[in-house]
Symmetry: D2
């Protein structure tokens, strides 16, 4: 798809936002709309809002970006209410029908329920089968529907919706941040490992908000209160907030890739600034893979912070190496005759002023297939760069993710097919260096939890179906690979 | 809504179409698309198609007319297949979300299933509650979902999908024509009373089709084979067609309003031409409510056939009394300042040439609220009609319909608030006459089944929740009511 | 284009509407919008409105039908005003760019001017060349721009806009009904032969309206005042209305095809009801081409009136022979594999009930290429018609039209390639009969002017560039052609 | 409009692109489409393309961004050709109708002509009046139409289109870069002062391209050849390129604001890198307005380069101070109840990590009304900045621009209402400093031409209608204004 044209990134699945308003100001729909803009980077394939107005729920959702899905009329029709949740979806390629766009709104024995989720359930297939053997029918292929069923089943005997959520949570495995709306309550739930971030905030004293990322709070003038504990369930109703900690215990393992690429740099995940973590990753890179050079540049937008960190650590000046065209979107008409490799120049332009005649260090946050790195490097060469040294602020991807990040299949992962040295040659750089496993563990040091780095190491914080790596290929890190004089 | 602006009709819920193609010609999507155009009059609020391509199902559906919902791209994406079903939906006002648009596509323990229905289930609420008590969740407010669940539950123990359908059918009450697609089969089901028509046809030897109305067959060059028996289930797969008649028995009672208004005049329902039935209704009207006049006109489009019948029977010349603007659609911008009663002239124009200085008999098929009759009669007066005698080719609505026709609530039904004479005065006609109960029973005489005329009489072919009429008001028919000299 | 799919008609170019409101009620935009709906049949390719609000003009126009071009927002943006004109365009195939959609709004030495036209200027090419030799540039290929230039040039020396219009009119040849808006005035102009109708009406005492057809008056509650005289110019401003009759003289020759096909049946053209003229044409047909038969049917919609006339004259019963699908529009996706001849069934369905086993007289208003007659007749045969006798309520087209009707080129006109007998065989009817030249002259007898019948006879009311017929082929009329027993 | 929500910038009018292809590769439409993406920042209100295919011209244009105006179908319909021009329009607020979107396509005595322009004609009103007195009519309010007329008039007697362009150019005053397409030729014209940049490039040997900015060349793989000389006319046809230098002479005065804000940083204007000029402006700012601080940040996107320059010059670390939401576009639904000042947080978020507890230097490129600076500064304060020192990389706007940049009217220009010190207090910063006039003259030192800095000084390179400044207020620069300890 043109949307992801020229992108070579591993994406996370989705962002969630929820609000409970006791103030009677009726801003929940608009607040959710604005928060979805702030979470748009987590999912650009679809979005939706459900509002609960005194027990009556209304919903609007569709494929597309927030500005494509919502116009004034939709916002007006959603109307006023006391509770709302919103969802930004990544992953439309798998989802042919709109029913898969969240939030999901269903009716069960106790009335209506809406929910949206973030992450990936490891035991979804098994739970689905069990439910189907009990006569269940599924309208979607989402984890959200599995979770909805699990809660509904528990609700048959549980004294309250939160009790049902608590019991259901005990049967779910994997990453499952979720927001649930019942006729009277808003419930936030985070899985016991806390794979995906989920924070609580407030606006004034009467509005409680939840979001996948704190940047959503800033966009609506909310104040950060705290992150949910791994395994915590928070229930909000007219009376106040209550925490259920039955499933808490572990210190948790938040996905380290949130710091590397997924989260917005202005978000704070588990107490650690994403921007700071990226700068640190760049600084570690500078220590692990030094090279004599004249300028450090980042590949926009996700490589910029690490480039700044690399520059500061190394003392080599930071420069603007690329200009990114902000108008190229999913509706760009890709010419059939144009090669992928030449097409990159539509989106990126090298800044000759910065790189001409220079030895350039080009920092990017990750490499998945390596496809866009080739033409990107070529742009620098054409703009007159004398040397190009690539530095990647994360280790190579070599293992599957079971928790919501869509690492490519192994036959497409470049690090499963080539050694680091071969990758450098393939991409056409004078040297290349990836961040080491040791360093990636430290980029967010000081955060309130540990990290999942399974995609790099194959070691996951929970038992996984098969812990075999995506590829057998063994990468030896962190040697800087390259043939140029400056590469050592 | 502007869409139904100036309409005063009771609408039926929906039309269905299905096709099983053994020829390998891959026309099922396009055939369904064309058939939906032919069934569009049965539902203009939404439509959809599901195609089954060797067990893989794809779906596209949305609110709107066929040309609004389907463009070339959608048709191309649905692609090829061996089985397809389509649905034209009436009733969007009740249905806020797209999930309610049919066909419904779900996954259950045995794989995927798609289905669409026509009519109204009388025991839907009860079945829903039962299912919810078993842990079921509902995404929609449709009968289709209840039926899907019933089939799925039976399928847990039934040896085949058709056996599950057969068992489920035994638990459903009311009107429930349905088409069901399993990975290998297309199944058509009609309720034991046959409230809604459902016919089988074929194209060549290798394509079997089903449709709510035979006009859909004509649109795709299919040949009518036969109507499904009330209660019959027909299973089509690669091997051929099989009939399950467990639930057959009664001669059936098809909704008489199909002949009066719902069906297209070129359709044949239970062996009886709709056009002929309408002409007959007009002829009976002429016998029951004669009046000296110069010209007989119909209110377009549904009153035209009866007007022709009245004219032929009475010997009074038939004339074109109104021109209807074909371009006024749901997107017409209704001026806020314009009165409903003056707005009718945007849609209808009286033909002065036909009515000027004449005693006019104006035939319409039914009156629900009476709202549009007032301005329509005024148009004739303004165009110079000397007298206006209204004749209605059905009896007054006085009872609820439990089987899929949305008779208005009693406080809006004009016949529940006024005597026939009062209605005539209210509408401003010189005389008025409704078709008698006796005659309505005979308009489709010769059809293969009996008729449900419960909305007129309060006598239904099956036990209904409460057989009290919508209104207590007792209409005395069939006296022609009017004060004019010509009215007797 | 799918829009004209299955159509075999000669179309007229465009409809115009104008309003001058002294009441201060600010309804001119909405009135124009509604009037365009009533004139939509005259042009479905584009439309537009210009409003003059105290000298400030605003415009909205685009390709498409009225409901496609105008939504609430557009209407609101046009806002209030005292003068408005609107245009319904036929002929987009020639017009690649939106600039060609009318009304045209320009600035000249005396300020702004908007205008729209109806018809075809015979000397447009010559005037264009003259103007270009003086340095003029043209943004469009419309006659409207030529007329705008002619008026502007005269305005340089004329004392008023109406004087400029008067002088310019003296230099224009052909059909040119036009409405012109200056900062203070609304001016209506009709060419000296009055090829195209143009009527004046009023709403109350303070609103003066002009329209191509009187049906537009009915749609907005306006009263017909009178037709403009051929050659007349009417000037409306705050003071009142004034008539300029310098160019009047001839009794005029309105296009007879307005009565046959172009105008809406509820319009009155030059004092003669279109509906009545069509019935008369049918009656003449019955006299000229009698045949023993069981039923008379019309091809919807334009053949219905003549069929009724034929039936009444002949005493053979009138029946409903076809049902037309009202939902098939320009967005219908035509299957590539479907033959044109089988595709007609998507749009039309024969009413078996009416024609089965019958000898059918099928009346249509005209035949251009004959392409759709073949499948239409086949529908009747398939529905069981025993005999099909085609009657056409106009003579064969054999000559070009210079005045705004797009008669096909001679190699496509069926009457230029075949004798009437051959046409009948080609179409597959048992007999065929066209209305005679003598009769076509009489269908609107009693109108206030004479008729242009040049497309049938090659004799035009004004000198034309080359009066040679489209084809040399000589048709001998009015013999009924056919081989069946009933054909004589 | 929401599009420019929270923007406080002076915009330039439009970007142009043209291509002549002798290779027969038929890529001109697609190349133009891609180039318009690269020029989108110069005009986001509308865009269009005209293609010349062997003398036949086709056009598509509309209000909106490139991805909104062009889809696959439009590109396909434009088809192949040898010449194409494209235009990105700024200024829709003035332009109610689509006719004002360029390129303009007209017919004149010698055939078709298309053209598009960039800049503002000073004597447009006078020329218009002259032309109107000769009978001309205007469809638009664009300079393009005036230029088209001037060329057409000269063409009546000139031996060739280029001779006509040459003669017309002699009568035009002001800024008028233009591209003109005749049936055989592509002509590029730049005004004698060269107010707006216009460059020539090539793709291979057979494709000649022209663009307002060199970044358009990079996007399509074209090589920069040279800038047009001020006053130069370049004619391209099948034979080759020819230069007409009749109007050349002055060294030219390119708009200095192109370097400050208008042009893309990766463009090279008159031999000088825009990125470099901005960094220099930042460096000069650091010299003129030093302050003790902990971090230098830029307001995205236009303040980033100058911030980097300031940081390097001052030795104070560069930091990322704001994250800009890339998804907020023109369709953002602005809440009525939200204050402009609080709304900025939807688009910008301050990076607490960077500014918390710090003395911050915030660099922006210009201040027009000062409206967005207030909430932007507030974001920094809320994020914990201890001090905020604003530095502006251009002098205050105090005079009108006659050459295509829309400086606000004086009652809205903040520098016309307040002293620099007052501005600083109004905005809420600890100190503020604008770049001096002396320094702005030097930011692009080394460029091939001189600069127009009239908007800052009131001294223009050509005589202007009235050289009085927008405001009488006299700013005393370049003192740093501020009350904080660090401000001197």
């Amino acid at each position: 798809m043109a949307k992801y044209m020229l992108e070579d990134k591993a994406h996370e699945e989705c962002g969630v936002f929820g609000i409970f308003d006791r103030s009677g100001e009726n801003t929940v729909v608009f607040d959710t709309y604005m928060a979805l803009y702030a979470l748009q980077h987590r999912g650009q394939d679809g979005c939706g809002i459900v509002v609960n107005d005194s027990g009556i729920m209304r919903s609007h959702k569709d494929f597309g970006l927030v500005p494509e899905v919502f116009n004034r009329e939709h916002i007006d029709k959603l109307g006023s209410g006391q509770i709302a949740i919103g969802h930004a979806l990544y992953g439309a390629s798998l989802m042919q029908t709109r029913s898969n766009v969240q939030p999901m709104m269903v009716r069960h024995v106790k009335g209506q329920m809406a929910l949206c989720t973030n992450g990936a359930l490891m035991n979804a297939a098994g739970l689905r089968e069990e439910l189907e053997l009990g006569g269940a029918i599924f309208h979607t292929i989402t984890d959200a529907e599995v979770i909805a069923y699990m809660i509904t089943h528990e609700r048959l005997s549980a004294p309250s919706i939160e009790a049902a959520v608590e019991r259901a949570a005990g049967k779910l495995r994997g990453a499952f941040s979720a927001l649930i709306v019942s006729p009277q309550k808003l419930i936030a739930m985070r899985d016991p490992e806390g794979f995906r971030p989920l924070s609580m905030g407030k606006i004034g004293e009467d509005k409680i908000v939840f979001a996948s990322e704190t940047c959503a709070f800033d966009s609506i003038g909310a104040t950060f209160v705290r992150d949910l504990l791994p395994g915590e369930i928070v229930v909000v109703d007219k009376e106040g907030e209550r925490s259920i900690t039955t499933h808490c215990g572990s210190r948790g393992h938040v996905c380290v890739f949130e710091y590397v690429y997924t989260a917005r740099p202005d978000s704070v995940v588990e107490g650690m600034s994403v921007h700071k973590a990226r700068q640190r990753a760049g600084a570690f890179l500078a220590i692990e893979h030094p090279v004599e050079a004249d300028v450090v540049i980042g590949v926009p937008d996700s490589g910029l912070d690490a480039a700044l960190g690399y520059a500061k650590q190394s003392g080599i000046p930071y420069g603007v190496g690329f200009i990114k065209n902000r108008y190229i979107g999913r509706t760009f008409i890709q010419p059939t005759q144009v090669q992928r490799e030449t097409a990159v120049r539509i989106k990126l332009n090298a800044m000759a002023e910065t790189v001409r005649g220079k030895r350039v260090i080009m920092v990017d946050d990750s490499i998945v297939r390596g496809t866009t790195s080739i033409p990107t490097v070529r742009l620098l060469r054409e703009a007159g760069a004398k040397e190009v040294h690539m530095r990647v602020s994360s280790p190579p991807f070599m293992n599957p993710c079971y928790f919501g990040t869509d690492i490519d299949s192994k036959d497409k992962l470049i690090a499963c097919r080539m050694s680091v040295e071969e990758i450098g040659r393939h991409i056409g750089v004078d040297s290349i260096g990836f961040l080491s496993i040791d360093s990636i563990k430290k980029i967010a040091e000081g955060a309130h939890c540990d990290f999942c780095i399974g995609c790099f190491t194959g070691q996951y914080p929970v038992e996984v179906p098969e812990s075999i790596p995506v590829c057998k290929f063994e990468q030896k890190l962190p040697k800087t690979a390259g043939s140029g004089e400056n590469a050592r």
